[in-house]
């Protein structure tokens, strides 16, 4: 037991990071399952992080209410975004959402209430490991049940062949809106947890770099598999620490791993395990 306690004491931050990153990967995975390349998770995360941080710092809210309100806001933002981009597909959707993300980041940078470039400091570290993993378990369970519903079938159909889906009466617009909103909600949860476990947030935490990271986790883990996405996130979050001995070569190794998985395991790591199923 002591060994476990020592391990936790020495690595609790990394463990927490893995939990949050897994949530972020799940949030993108939902959109990807509908075939939507909606790359605004980092922005949703940022919106929730800032709102929950401001509530905690200025109004002394505790974690749960702050997190819930923040997540509600990020979900609303996601829903609002779904409207103008409803006709966009593929790379056009990706670019539009990236643009949206950058605008959100710049707004956070220029407003006084968000602290501007100096960020918000001294956020109470209420989001401990039980909170993070508790949220992860609840979200995963919810997604698992969700995947057993008819709506989930509709989502898969929209991804495989949108016109066919329309043909059998699926409301494509509703599917896209819902997956974006759910993604916004999960990213929001992750954002609030992030703010309350990092002491300090700054607009740069939620920019294109973060978005690229989340995308890479999903691709490495497997686009159509939420479990894969979460595992991809876990592996790539641990990676820089695991290969710390490689010092200056870590970047290089990162790129190589990315390339190798993309070229030789296009269904991601989840694809390797499940074999040639789909």
């Amino acid at each position: 037991m002591n060994v476990l306690a020592d391990f936790y004491a020495a690595h609790s931050k990394l463990i927490d990071q893995v939990g949050i990153d897994a949530l972020l990967a799940l949030s993108l995975s939902i959109s990807l399952q509908a075939g939507q390349l909606a790359l605004a998770q980092a922005a949703f995360m940022g919106v929730a992080a800032y709102i929950s941080a401001v509530l905690a710092l200025n109004a002394h809210w505790t974690l749960l209410p702050a997190m819930l309100v923040a997540t509600l806001c990020s979900t609303i933002v996601a829903g609002l975004l779904a409207l103008p981009v409803r006709r966009l597909r593929g790379i056009f959707l990706a670019i539009a959402t990236i643009a949206f993300g950058e605008i959100v980041r710049i707004v956070a940078n220029n407003l006084a209430i968000s602290g501007g470039a100096e960020g918000l400091s001294g956020i109470p570290p209420d989001a401990t490991t039980p909170w993070i993993y508790g949220t992860l378990v609840i979200v995963s369970t919810g997604l698992w049940f969700f995947s057993r519903t008819k709506f989930a079938l509709a989502i898969a159909l929209v991804r495989e062949d949108e016109s066919a889906a329309r043909g059998v009466g699926v409301d494509v617009g509703l599917v896209r809106f819902t997956t974006l909103a759910i993604g916004g909600a999960i990213a929001g949860l992750a954002g609030a947890l992030y703010a309350h476990s990092n002491f300090f947030i700054t607009p740069a935490d939620f920019g294109f770099g973060r978005m690229e990271q989340i995308l890479v986790w999903c691709v490495i883990g497997g686009i159509t598999s939420p479990l894969g996405a979460a595992i991809g996130a876990a592996l790539l979050t641990i990676l820089p620490e695991a290969i710390r001995a490689l010092a200056d070569y870590r970047d290089f190794v990162n790129g190589i791993i990315l390339l190798v998985v993309v070229l030789f395991a296009p269904r991601g790591l989840a694809g390797i395990r499940l074999g040639k199923r789909r």
Partner: protein, 383 residues
């Protein structure tokens, strides 16, 4: 193994042993303090790669130089086995947190760094909770030392440097209007710009134009054209070297001949290297002068240049100063985590390449800023 291979191996092994035999005696040349023979681990968190690498590499170079100097006796740790373990946080907040956690759980006595103020805000609380002392060498934003009772800083903050800069330049240049151009997406440059604005207004100077830019920008023509039209008596740069050099050069291209000044970020010889004569006369409020005569400064600059082929800048100097400070503490016998914080608090003075330094009650460094003026080949003191 085949014969020749065996001999080659034996030869190589012997060659590896000889330097140890030679270095041995010189170790004995250092003094023997109360911590002699003890191993003291000091953890350094620096952004050697990533967006802040330009600063992190200087810091890493300074600490590795310090490690060499400890071995050769140039830095005296009283016979203790002191070494600086530089770890790369890759300008990534997550890695910063992980490194802080590592250093607070593996017997490290003291943490130096991290490179950026934002990183300090993320990581220092971890050290504070674990009661490990942290000494920042490049974090200059507000509110860092108030993160905890064992968070110290050897880097003069902008709040300490700017008032002196404004006072000196106003006395000589007697300006009445000013324009400020500063980076709005970087905590350091934004704080710099804000503090200059406050200080100038306090001194009765009216700000006729304010322009902002982003980190990584290279084209300042639009902003400078506006500034030129506002005809200020002095132009203030809230910038780091990479942007400052371009602003200065492009201002000259546009025919702007106004006095210019800035804070710590401009303390780099790269500016003259880039902008040439256009940079001459720019005033820099700094914490260190490359030409300064302080303890071991000239020798430090020479050795740094010799080993790395580039001159040290303020980031490197402040890192090396921290190393000097730590060596002094270890020489006095401080070797463990619990001894470091009180030792830092009780420090009367440490002689470093920054000059004599101590800590004020708020744990910020108490040292005098130097007001410099850029000239060919380095910096002169501003009169």
């Amino acid at each position: 193994m085949k014969r020749p291979v065996f001999f080659a191996f034996a030869l190589a092994a012997t060659c590896a042993l000889i330097p140890t035999a030679v270095v041995g005696p010189s170790l004995a040349a250092t003094t023997k303090g109360p911590a002699a023979g003890k191993t003291v681990k000091v953890g350094v968190i620096a952004d050697v790669t990533g967006s802040a690498a330009v600063y992190g590499v200087q810091q890493k170079d300074a600490y590795e130089l310090a490690n060499d100097d400890l071995k050769s006796g140039l830095l005296d740790a009283g016979g203790a086995n002191l070494s600086f373990d530089v770890e790369d946080a890759a300008s990534d907040g997550n890695q910063v947190a992980n490194l802080f956690q590592k250093f607070t759980t593996d017997g490290t006595a003291l943490i130096l760094g991290p490179t950026l103020s934002g990183e300090a805000r993320k990581g220092d609380p971890i050290a504070v909770a674990a009661k490990t002392a942290v000494v920042g060498t490049s974090t200059t934003a507000d509110g860092i030392t108030s993160l905890g009772p064992c968070v110290f800083r050897v880097s003069l903050s902008e709040a300490q440097v700017v008032p002196a800069t404004v006072a000196h330049t106003k006395a000589v240049w007697k300006y009445k209007t000013a324009a400020i151009i500063y980076g709005d997406d970087n905590a350091f440059t934004k704080t710099d710009g804000d503090i200059f604005k406050t200080q100038l207004e306090k001194a009765g100077v009216s700000i006729v134009d304010t322009e902002t830019f982003h980190v990584g920008d290279k084209d300042f023509a639009a902003s400078l054209t506006k500034i030129k039209a506002a005809k200020p008596d002095v132009i203030v740069l809230g910038a780091l070297a990479e942007e400052a050099e371009k602003i200065i050069q492009q201002a000259s291209t546009l025919g702007i001949k106004t006095h210019m000044m800035g804070g710590n970020g401009l303390n780099s010889t790269k500016i003259y290297d880039y902008a040439g004569p256009a940079a001459a006369g720019v005033v820099v409020g700094a914490a260190w002068s490359i030409n300064g005569n302080y303890t071991g400064n000239k020798s430090f600059v020479e050795r740094f240049k010799k080993r790395y082929g580039v001159e040290p800048d303020q980031f490197g100097a402040q890192a090396y100063a921290a190393a000097q400070l730590v060596a002094q503490l270890v020489k006095e016998g401080k070797a463990t985590k619990d001894e470091m914080c009180p030792a830092l608090r009780e420090l009367r003075v440490a002689q470093t390449v920054l000059g004599p330094i101590a800590f004020d009650p708020g744990r910020d460094v108490s040292a005098a800023p130097v007001i410099l003026q850029i000239e060919k080949g380095g910096f002169a003191y501003f009169h």
